[in-house]
Amino acid sequence: MSSPILKLVAQRVALGIVLLLAVSVLIFAGTQILPGDVAQSILGQAATPESLANLRAELGLNDPAYIRYFHWLGGVLTGNLGTALSSGQDIASSIRPRLENTLFLAACAAIVAVPLAIILGLLAVRYRNGWVDKLISGLALASTSFPEFFIGYLLVYFFAVHWQIFPGISTVYDGMPFLARLEAIALPATALTLVCLAQMMRMTRAAILNIMQSAFVETAELKGLSAFSIIRKHALPNAVAPIINVVMLNLAYLVVGVVVIEVIFVYPGMGQYLVDHVAKRDVPVVQAVGLIFAAVYITLNIIADVASIIANPRLRHPK
């Protein structure tokens, strides 16, 4: 690795960290916009002024907002996410198994979706305007108009209720055998795959098509190379960067899609945890989980950028 790459990568990572800090301010500020405060919402309308004052002092609500922000940020950086208001449990230790579950589900969906999307995208370019191509534009139309729960409940209705192949509720527990775990998440992983597959295929197709129309591919065609060797030798190396970009952007989308999918399949992950605690108005949990989702999202975007810097030498020399 030469140093200009390292410098560019370091710049991109530093920018990401600044962005993450700004996002943490935004998330903190987003939970402060209400005139009332947390103490009021815990104790309810019937609270006496004395008990309110006591709880405020206990939670540190008498400090100005920026001091509470730095207090919270300091806690987050040292791995202390505070305690949940509704249950009094330590947030960090409740999050850990759930984060693992969510990442496992997302990873399983990605392992199926990414190669499938790339292969189908390539086929669509190879047989352009053929049936694969038509199928892809049809699927893309469907995936921009179908809500996630429609796909999810269709899967449950047919695969879990009618044909009884897979469980409709994804129960997982500690020490579950790997294969049983895979069977439990078969339907949510399929739903997630379907949610992001069409978009990924369409973007892969666009990225490769863009390259297929460039001058060097035309030259290769005029030399008389076969279609597949043009794709393999000339188009693919140039398409790697945009494809990695597409994949990372869609993985970031998958991280969000996981929220609704987890609720459908009652899967004990981060999304379910977040939704439950939004309904309970449990602000510390919402802040912590929101920040983790944002961090994963930003990290995937940084990886996308770094990967394209490494894969595409042209990006290394900014004009």
């Binding site: 935004l26 409940y153 969000v256 609720v263 939004v278 108005r281 602000v283 999202y297």
Partner: protein, 274 residues
Amino acid sequence: MINITRIPLAALIGIVMTSLFLLAAIFAPWIAPYGNAQIVGDVWQPMSSQFWFGTDNLGRDLLSRMIYGARITIFIAVLATALSFTLGATLGFCAAVLGGWFDTLMSRLVDLLMAIPTLIMALVVLSVLPSTLVTLIMVMGILDSTRVYRLSRAIAVDIEVMDFVEAAKLRGEGMLWIIFREILPNALSPLISELGLRFIYAILFLSALSFLGLGVQPPDADWGGMVKENKDGIVFGIAAALIPAAAIAILGISVNLVADWILNRTTSLKGGRG
């Protein structure tokens, strides 16, 4: 005038379906066979000539709920889309015309908002805000205006350097004239085709929030909320929850077909999407 025989079949289907949904929404109280909250029979009765879609989890007529649900769903989505376009387009045009610190400030703020997934940010904010229709529309509209802002700023930056805008500036026209009389008419066609996509997005976003129990509150229900109400029936093989979910999907496809057609028409006229 548009010649109806020259509209492609797909777009025609889209227009007819979208109009049907709109009519159902507008005339809900006159079309619906039963009241919105009226309990008419047993829980989760199958489809019959009396109850076309069966009954729901409390024994209410599902068809009537669907028609009233269309009203709530479309009403909120229309208002949220209108808010996001008013806000996003105004700020985007202002940023393009004014430039300078205003442009930098707004653009960085939008970058920041878009660095967090919209659904996550909405959940964070809704955890402290009261669950009323007004907050729901405000949250949806403001979060979605970031995308409209980017699009309208990009379009306006292109138009702003054209000769007729230059001429208007030399004439001494004010900023409002330049935005509304010079830029807006020329930015309209790409913005209108975006309108359809943002409307679908608003419907999907609202349905997701209501499905998660954070959108429209009972006894009123939009389609997403109806999926939530009836989802427990699915494991017993009762498809009631699939009907509102399918309605969202059909409405989404219909609006998409219309938006695609408008986009193609404007693209052939304007030679690009802004």
